[in-house]
Assembly symmetry: C2
Homo-oligomer: 191 residues x 2
Amino acid sequence: MAPSRLAAEKRQHIVETAYRLFKRGGFHATGIDRIIAEAEVAKMTMYRHFPNKDGLIAEVLDWRTARFERQLDRLAETAQTPDDKIATILDWYQRWFDSPDFHGCLFQHALAEFGEPDHVVFKAVTRQKDGLKRRMRDILAARMPGERAASIAATLLMLLEGATLLAQMGQGKAAIADMRQAAARILDAPG
Amino acid sequence: MAPSRLAAEKRQHIVETAYRLFKRGGFHATGIDRIIAEAEVAKMTMYRHFPNKDGLIAEVLDWRTARFERQLDRLAETAQTPDDKIATILDWYQRWFDSPDFHGCLFQHALAEFGEPDHVVFKAVTRQKDGLKRRMRDILAARMPGERAASIAATLLMLLEGATLLAQMGQGKAAIADMRQAAARILDAPG
DNA sequence: CTCAAGTGAGACAGACCTGTCTCACCTTTG
DNA sequence: CAAAGGTGAGACAGGTCTGTCTCACTTGAG
């Protein structure tokens, strides 16, 4: 039978509550008991919707990936040139770093705690990073050969990931500024 | 009383065993019981040398930082120009990515699991990253104004951290190549 | 030799973990 | 109304976690 409307809402509520707790406390350190207490949900309700904790984590990451990519695609529509589209991504990161409950990248953290390439969580992380890289590559491909677009997209991804790390260590402001300079130099360089 | 020679050796053995296990399995997921079993050491021996698990983790990171910086400083002596010194650092990362039991950066992982800025582990992470950035800044300062050296050092650090992340996702080869191109463009750009 | 420090082995406490199960209750649907 | 699926609350099992403690033994220092 198809899940009822209320069941789907409960499921989504669990995902968002778990997201908030994982972001603050990490994955292994955040217990199921804590999640169901915070979500005000019975334990069996959680285990009826998700096979186990790892499955919940992967679902949380995939949900977050979808939200992230929606925001990114919407932003890309507001800009005209490829360079402007890339700039809106950097703007997005800058706002993220400045947001009050910034705790670093949940996907980086997931990779740290689930480093086995076959693990369902590991795969959810690669999906997010590959999606971001592909979006930047597609943006740049309108302005340069595909191979060079792929290379620069990878470079920008590295800069973004490194900047996120520095931001988690309290150096977000400088990291954004330095990243903008570097991005400008890389994009302006002769092909 | 000063610790005996054997006691110091045991202590060091615990640190190196914990390092190996943390690298593979993460921090929360690796239990004390596993560490002392692998190190073939009594539990009380471990707790006599370290105040608690967090203290052991911080010690492991600091030991690893010292080893890393020794290697870096030794490499820097073999190169002449600032650009060559930076290149030897990139070479070091490339060899690291290709090493058989590469599992990503232990400091990134520690930051993911201990995100509280006041935590002893968090501080050990910032020490390592700041140390690396400072070394690159000092290298570059021989070739450009101090402010620009600091900015480029931060950019290179971001690239290195991002490349390490990509390497953990199996894209180390391409990441190194793209990073080298980006570094060359950034270093060659007009001041 | 003598004594103290260090150690190995393991029991132990108390807490927490994941995941299963029961049972009474509610709500939705036919 | 009646049947069935979803839920809340919590007990429960079996395991693991950190950290403390005891006791017998070994090893190093004076």
